[in-house]
């Protein structure tokens, strides 16, 4: 084969004399490389998107859900709670059943007699009532190591949020507040503390969330459950201290910026004898305030250009005409452009802090080319950059007011004043909701005579990515107790009972899903509880099934198109090699006379096809790797060309996948050389038919 390879290589090396042949060869290699690149990039991106979706799909919703069947709800085990005094005559959720001490709470002595239509009791071998829930959890634990199971419950209520925001005209001396309300009919899902992926779906608090929390720290949450807006009032000092301690403990302030234009603290920061350009606002011949302006502004009746210097703890203003005016340090100062300052919080003595302005920050920044540094109070400033701590090794003594993670598991913080902490889907962010906002769940509870609205106070503890769930945009996560409270008393939302309550099962390797499903089914069967449970893997979820099938058929379709395009591209090789065979007829005849067999000559041209295929595969793969690793730049470029976003972030995620798909690479590495070799076969057969005697004589 070495001989054939060396001859094939010699034939393929471009030569000046055979320029047209070399050009055709280069074009063939170029076209195949392009096709290889296209297939690799497309398949990698679609594969990556599918993987991301699957990850999202199986992060919030576990890859396997176990839900009770109708048989469960009609069973003695479920129904018995409704007539048992020990169960307060109310049905129990799966969570409550799992925690209950009594499997059969019915007492013939104390409770009413069982009605004649009552379902038969399912009993264990020892005669005791079969505990479907406990047996289910036990079976899951026994099935495989590493399975994590937790029950979930879904409910529904109206979420009403009261959003208090700081707002006021930029030159206003006092901060003012606005209030707006957001009402949204929502599904409420129990927060799964055992979900190993949940913490990855939760966004860390944004800088505006942290700012908002500091802003809210001073205010009283009273009025959150009232229908009418209340006057925003300051909260009690103890509450303020409590919230501030939690915030300061878990936030590292790095930069602050001026909020609004008032910047009275500038007076104390100005260095001695340095000159600053300012605009002086004059009224009736007196300077009312000074503005540090970066913009070109025309002098007006009120504004006059001048310079400001700090000399011996006094501010000296010099007008353009040279007239100087001495001003006290208390003169109001403004900055037209926001000032961005490096900042460190001075450790406060909380007992002396009555408001945010009592906090002090060491700041350093540059204004008009001069470095300003010093200590300023927390007033008319907001955080520009701060680290919020979201990860802990154990439950912290001073937990943050946002959702945090302890050893890989998400933890919901406690809301203030018994408010339930809730996690909202991140689309709420676009409505201006921020961490710390308060409100309530409203649901109707029926009594014997009326339907009464009930309210449960809530506080926003963060935002999460609900992934691909159809109702994800309206799925709120909160403490399981809240969900159950609403479920037991609410009459408003009636879901498919079988979907409202169930068990989620998490594990790390999705490829094991089918195997785990089979094992669980077997374990449930052995325990005799299979009729009461339905085990559903992620690819059978109603909301995901169509999409997953779409992904699958897209992949098959493109693979098919890929093969066809590859065949078309490789057929270039056939035409090139047929020309080559015609060109090399004499050499073929000479080699034949020297004793080269027909097989050997056929191999030379088959290898020519193979070499071109391999070369194209290498070039195409290298180009695809380069593209995939810089996919964001490519997308950015495409977006620039199109004038709008080339890929919808809602569908494709924030950025496209940047890993070459192994499946696509395998496909290309196998298909391209094989198709190229096959393409080389046609000219190889033609080469075999060269009659050496005729050629050698005709020359």
């Amino acid at each position: 084969m070495l001989f054939e390879f060396s001859v094939a290589k010699k034939y393929l090396v471009p030569k000046k004399k055979q320029l047209s042949m070399s050009l055709i060869a280069l074009m063939s290699v170029g076209v195949i490389s392009l096709v290889v690149w296209l297939i690799l990039v497309f398949l990698s991106v679609t594969d990556g998107i599918e993987k991301n979706w699957l990850k999202k799909l199986t992060s919030f919703n576990a890859p396997i859900q176990i839900t009770p069947t109708d048989a469960y709800y009609q069973s003695y085990y479920y129904q018995v709670d409704s007539i048992s005094g020990d169960s307060d005559f109310s049905y129990k959720s799966i969570g409550e059943k799992a925690a209950a001490t009594l499997t059969d709470p019915y007492s013939p002595d104390e409770d009413l007699a069982l009605p004649p239509y009552w379902p038969e009791k399912e009993v264990d071998v020892d005669g005791s009532t079969k505990d479907f829930v406990k047996l289910a959890f036990a079976s899951i634990q026994k099935t495989k190591l590493g399975l994590i199971a937790q029950d979930y419950e879904v409910s529904g209520a109206l979420l009403k949020l009261r959003m208090i925001r700081s707002q006021g005209p930029s030159f206003a001396p006092q901060e003012s507040h606005t209030q707006s309300y957001l009402t949204q009919a929502s599904y409420i899902n129990s927060f799964s503390g055992k979900n190993p992926h949940l913490h990855k779906l939760i966004d860390p608090p944004r800088i505006e969330d942290i700012n908002h929390l500091f802003y809210l720290a001073e205010l009283s949450p009273d009025g959150a459950s009232a229908d009418q807006p209340d006057r925003v009032v300051k909260g009690s000092v103890s509450e303020f201290h409590e919230r501030l301690a939690s915030l300061l403990e878990n936030t590292t302030i790095k930069r602050v910026k001026s909020s609004g234009q008032k910047a009275s603290y500038l007076a104390s920061l100005l260095p001695e004898n340095k000159s600053f350009e300012v605009l002086a606002y004059q009224k009736q011949g007196r300077i009312s305030y000074l503005v540090f302006s970066e913009k070109e502004r025309k002098e007006s009746r009120y504004f006059e250009k001048g310079t400001l210097k700090r000399i011996n703890d006094k501010l000296v203003y010099t007008s353009a005409e040279g007239k100087t005016t001495e001003l006290g340090l208390a003169i109001p100062l403004f900055s037209e452009t926001p000032l961005s300052m490096e900042a460190r919080l001075k450790k406060p003595n909380l007992s002396q802090v009555m408001a945010l302005r009592d906090l002090k920050l060491d700041v350093c920044f540059i204004l008009q080319g001069h470095t300003l540094s010093g200590t300023i109070p927390w007033e008319t400033i907001e955080l520009e950059d701060a680290d919020a701590r979201t990860s802990f090794e154990k439950i912290p003594d001073q937990p943050p007011p946002w959702t945090y993670e302890v050893n890989g598991f998400a933890v919901l913080p406690k809301g203030h004043r018994a408010a339930a902490a809730v996690l909202l889907p991140k689309n709420f962010q676009t409505n201006g909701v921020k961490v710390g906002d308060t409100g309530y769940f409203s649901y109707n509870a029926s009594t014997t005579s009326a339907i009464q609205e009930q309210r449960l106070p809530v506080q926003i503890a963060g935002f999460y990515d609900p992934g691909v769930m159809a109702i994800g945009a309206r799925m709120i996560l909160t403490e399981p107790a809240v969900v159950h409270t609403i479920n037991t008393s609410s009459q408003t939302y009636s879901f498919d009972q079988n979907m409202m309550n169930g068990i989620q099962v998490w594990y790390s390797d999705l490829s094991q899903t089918s195997e785990i499903q089979t094992e669980l089914t077997e374990a449930f069967k052995q325990e005799g509880i299979l009729p009461y449970w339905k085990i559903t893997p992620y690819y059978e979820y109603d909301f995901a099934r169509d999409l997953l099938q779409q992904f699958q058929s897209d992949k098959y379709l493109f693979t098919l198109i890929g093969i066809i395009v590859l065949i078309v591209a490789c057929s270039n090789i056939i035409s090139l090699l047929v020309i080559l065979v015609n060109d090399k007829k004499k050499e073929i005849a000479i080699l034949s006379a020297m004793g080269a067999s027909k097989k050997s000559i056929a191999w030379i041209f088959t290898l020519c096809g193979g070499i071109m295929g391999c070369l194209s595969t290498m070039i195409g793969t290298a180009a695809a790797l380069l593209t995939i690793h810089n996919i964001d730049s490519v997308v950015h470029f495409l977006s620039l060309l199109q004038g709008h976003e080339a890929f919808n972030a809602v569908f494709y995620g924030k950025s496209l996948p940047d890993e070459l798909s192994e499946r696509a690479l395998m496909f290309i590495l196998i298909a391209t050389p094989i198709i190229s070799l096959l393409a080389g076969l046609v000219p190889a057969l033609k080469a075999c038919k060269v009659h050496p005697s005729k050629i050698l004589r005709s020359e």
């Binding site: 006379a593 020297m594 027909k598």
Partner: protein, 222 residues
Amino acid sequence: MILKAHKLSKSYKQPEKAEILRDITFSLEEGESLAIVGPSGVGKSTLLHILGTLEEPSSGSLEILGHDALSGDRSMLRNKHIGFVFQNFNLLEESPVLENVLMPAKVGRQATGKGSKALAHAEGLLERVGLEGHQNQLAKHLSGGEKQRVAIARAFCNHPQLILADEPSGNLDEGNSNLIHELLIGSSHDYGKSLIVVTHNSALAELCDRKFLLSDGCLTSI
């Protein structure tokens, strides 16, 4: 016996039916040289190509070194036992002289790298034909006489028992022709090879041990 041809015939159906070789029977002993002469177009080259297994006869049998040379894959037989010298040289024009000489060894998958026997032999052959200084020169840059000397060296590369030469000096001037005749006959003698040469050149024919005339498809000893 090196070669034994028995009743070899060759006829063409196109462009018109013609039998150009009829019952050719002869044999060739080891070390023997044989010249086939005859007018142009009589089928001398066809006979030589049939003897070299490049073409098949219409009927008859051919044995080379005891092997049936008309059935199965003859490429091995050509590679190991037959060396060709053509009128128009048939060198790989874009390849260097040494590579041309080594080509039969490469086709036969012999080692041709530094220190190999094949390389030493090829260098010896080039020295023998007086081209030791032209090893790396491309074949296309050689003169006609030089090209034919390379072709002779190539024919001897794999130590074949039989050398077949088809008008070896047909394209050369007299001086070069004499040199080629000398080399061909001399090398065949020196290396103990059998030689069949098809030629118009009576001087070359005279140098051979036996002479045959091909006329009207029949071979007769002269």
